[in-house]
């Protein structure tokens, strides 16, 4: 047992990589839930993004094209959900669960011929001498483009939700869709766009798994990352920066678990794998024990179908 063999700088740098897929998926889902829609299909959208991104990257030889393909594939899958819940008025929970199951099966089918192939390498961004700085260089300037993109998306979503008209409308739709409709906002259109954004983010998060983090395609490789992302949104009480903090916390736990094993500290993997969910349950209990905070956090119309009247 030797904690000294765990280098904190490497740990932080690698937890950022480990957290990026769930961070992307969670920030997308945050926008969806802020619009009042509960999409439980994150896992399915992620894995379809993972296989589509992988296939496109292998075929074209370009990881960037792979990621674009993943964005499109994630959004396309989420469009099924949008059609079911916003046009056909299906139940959101059932549709989301179906989407996850569909995504897992569909990706396995698509990915059959890609098992065991090595994808083209995603290069780290070159910051020149900055990357050689001690500590900071490794943590801030030693990553591939998607890590920065994910941080940019979090900042962008935070700014957009709080300081722009579009973001205000989206929050209004999620808070009270009847009021928003009465004021003349297009509830369904806003929600469909939010769902597409969530799908795109989840797809990109999935591609990061198959192209950078693992990098390989195996069936069911998201292994619950989508569910962690969903839990993270609640954990963060629908606030973008808390999603970032939560994602890095969970990423840290994942990385630490590997490091501890390598250091010979024998905690059964299962305990550590459970920990994000246990933390989420604890946070939910704490949050719901205080009704004041809970009612202010969750979007008022979350999960409710909108039927326009009159």
């Amino acid at each position: 047992m030797d904690f000294g063999s765990i280098n904190p700088v490497v740990l932080i740098a690698s937890l950022m990589v480990a957290a990026t897929p769930i961070l992307l998926a969670a920030i997308g889902e945050l926008v969806v839930e802020k619009a009042g829609v509960l999409n439980l299909g994150v896992e399915g959208m992620m894995i379809v993004g993972a296989v589509a991104g992988f296939a496109a990257a292998v075929t074209t030889g370009s990881p960037i094209l792979g990621m674009l393909a993943a964005i499109i594939a994630g959004a396309a899958v989420s469009l099924i959900f949008a059609l079911l819940t916003q046009v056909l008025m299906a139940n959101q929970v059932a549709s989301g669960l179906a989407l996850t199951l569909f995504g897992l099966g569909f990706s396995a089918l698509l990915g059959q011929s890609y098992v065991g192939i090595v994808p083209p390498r995603t290069e780290k961004l070159d910051f020149g001498p900055l990357s050689d700085l001690p500590v900071v260089g490794r943590i801030l300037f030693g990553h591939d483009i998607l890590v920065y993109v994910s941080l940019f998306v979090v900042a962008g979503v935070w700014y957009w939700l709080n300081y722009t008209r579009g973001g205000r409308v989206l929050r209004a739709v999620g808070e009270n869709h009847d009021s928003a409709h009465a004021l003349g906002y297009k509830v369904k259109r806003v929600r469909i766009l939010a769902i597409l954004f969530g799908g795109a983010c989840a797809g990109l998060g999935g591609a990061y798994l198959s192209l950078v983090r693992v990098p390989q395609w195996t069936e069911g490789m998201t292994a619950g990352a989508g569910w962690i992302a969903l839990a993270l949104v609640v954990f963060a009480s629908w606030k973008p920066w808390r999603v970032l903090a939560g994602a890095y916390l969970f990423g840290g736990i994942m990385v630490l678990q590997l490091n501890l094993q390598a250091a010979g500290y024998r905690i059964p993997v299962e305990y550590l794998a459970m920990s994000p969910y246990i933390i989420t349950i604890l946070v939910l209990v704490v949050m719901s024990s205080n009704r004041t905070r809970r009612t202010l956090a969750a979007p008022g119309s979350l999960g409710r179908s909108f039927h326009a009247a009159g």
Partner: protein, 506 residues
């Protein structure tokens, strides 16, 4: 004659199976306060939605200052100069006042600038409002101010107000009317929809009466009596609730020093509330919304538990009992919020009848629901209280507010309660239905029940109650007999100036 501001010509709107508006024609002049009168379901809401661009009429035209006007969307209506204050506020609880106002504007300025303008306009019109407060923390009157200010910031020529006073106190109504008169003096027009005929008589110079979607009359409300207007609306002569003098019987409900914390973050806790109601007596409890009405109803119904001794029914302590145990003993309640509290919106009327009637009407035997009996009970409520609905299989959500209210109140009354507590029994209900609900309450008391009517409508309390008490900040004043009570005294009681021991000098 000058060109009217807005002229409606032959407007017709047909929904599948229902003609909501048929050939509606009337004019609204510049600087005119025009009343639109009608019972629930007369087609007033459909009509104003057409003016505001939320729906498109099937036939007919509208002219705005002589030009054709056919808005496709509210944004277009707002651009023309039409603004609307909704009956059910279109507000967002978890957002602040400024954000709520911005959402109702087409080109809102930056929030900081907007906040300054909100403060300015709200002071100009005597409607003080802090732009940084969360809307969820505001009272009904303040919420309405948010709606009105949202409209005023767009400098409208025509302001549509749908039942603006249904949730306001007399003082708040006074403030609102002052604002509306100021708006008229500025040359703006107002289309005013209300059931409250006295208000219309004091405010409006023209009235159009709708019945079943058609214009059935035009009047100058200042020249008519409230009764004649009501009869025009209903199309028949109106029945005024009557009550013979009754001898109060034995003590049925007694609340002693009841203090409970509010379960809601925006609620008011009850502090040392005491009251007693005898058989055959109706106690009216007035007060501005949000002063503990919901909490008092909750504590009486059993949704909020209290110490056993704090609430007694016919001498027996029941404070620690939940709603079902109290129902079984004959203490029934009808809360204010129809959809979601008094009735489950997506369940049928039969199911809703079952929800509160299961015990006293014995609709459940050995754990199994007798659907036949439940349906029979629902049908009885529908028939006795003239609930207009195709049948008991209809979802509660599909009923208009007034019809559902009749169902909810009727459901409790038909269970022969020995104590009945109702909150806002005629909120949003038209004149004739309100009269029948009040009559039913009086009949119930006559038959020997103790009735508590919590209401913000003082006229209603004065009409039905024997004694009056006021809720203020979670405290209840000592009850006083309604006979001989003046509006000034009531105002003082509502303001909390009078706690009961001292007699107010006349």
């Amino acid at each position: 004659m000058t060109t009217p501001l807005l002229s409606l010509q032959g407007l017709t709107k047909v929904y599948p199976g229902v003609v909501a508006n048929k050939d509606v024609t009337f004019d609204i002049g510049e600087g005119e306060v025009h009343a639109l009168l009608g019972e629930n379901g007369a087609g007033k809401s459909t009509l104003v939605k057409a003016i505001y661009g939320l729906i498109r009429p099937n036939e007919g035209t509208m002219l705005w200052r002589g030009q054709p006007y056919a808005p496709n969307a509210p944004a277009q209506a707002r651009a023309t100069g039409v603004a609307m204050v909704f009956q059910h506020f279109s507000l967002f609880d978890a957002m602040d006042v400024a954000e709520n106002v911005a959402l109702g504007m087409d080109n809102p300025p930056p929030i900081r600038e907007l906040a300054a303008r909100i403060t300015e306009v709200s002071n100009n019109y005597g409607l003080p409002l802090d732009p940084s407060r969360m809307v969820g923390d505001l009272s009904a009157g303040e919420r309405q101010r948010v709606e009105i200010i949202r409209c005023l910031l767009q400098n409208p020529q025509l302001l549509i107000m749908d039942e603006p006073t249904s949730v306001l106190t007399p003082q708040e109504v006074e403030i609102l009317f002052r604002t509306l008169r100021q708006l008229r003096a500025e040359g703006r027009s107002i289309l005013y929809i209300s059931h409250k005929l006295e208000e219309i008589r004091s405010l409006c110079e023209n009235a159009t009466v709708l019945r079943l979607g058609k214009v059935v009359g035009r009047a100058d409300p200042r020249q008519e009596s409230a009764r004649s207007l009501a009869e025009m609306m209903v199309g028949q002569s109106l029945h005024t609730p009557s009550r013979p003098a009754a001898q109060p019987g034995k003590m049925l409900l007694q609340v002693t020093d009841l203090s409970v914390a509010s379960p809601s973050q925006f609620g008011t806790s009850l502090k040392g509330v005491s009251l007693s109601v005898r058989a055959g007596e109706i106690l009216g409890i007035g007060g501005v919304a949000g002063n503990g009405q919901d909490e008092l109803l909750g504590a009486l119904s059993g949704e909020i538990r209290a110490p056993a001794e704090a609430v007694r029914m016919a001498g027996e302590p029941v404070g620690h009992y939940g709603p079902n145990a109290r129902r079984a003993m004959g203490l029934l309640c009808a809360p204010e919020e129809r959809l979601g509290h008094a009735a489950a919106p997506d369940m049928s009327l039969t199911e809703n009848a079952l929800l509160t009637g299961a015990w006293r009407e014995k609709l459940v035997t050995r754990g199994f629901v007798s659907w036949g009996k439940a349906k029979g009970f629902a049908e009885k409520v529908i028939e006795r209280f003239d609930v207009r609905t195709p049948g008991p299989w209809v979802a509660a959500r599909a009923l208009s507010g007034g019809n559902l209210q009749k169902f909810v109140i009727g459901r409790e009354i038909l269970q022969r309660p020995s104590v009945l507590v109702v909150n806002q029994p005629t909120w949003g209900v038209d004149a004739s239905a309100a009269a029948s609900i009040r009559q039913a309450l009086l009949d119930l008391a006559q038959a020997g029940a103790a009735v508590v009517v919590i209401s913000q409508d003082l006229d209603e309390i004065l009409e039905v109650a024997d004694n009056f008490a006021a809720l203020n900040g979670g405290r209840l004043s000592a009850p006083r007999p309604v006979q001989g009570l003046t509006m000034d005294q009531i105002g003082l009681m509502l303001g909390g100036a009078e706690t009961g021991e001292t007699d107010v000098a006349a």
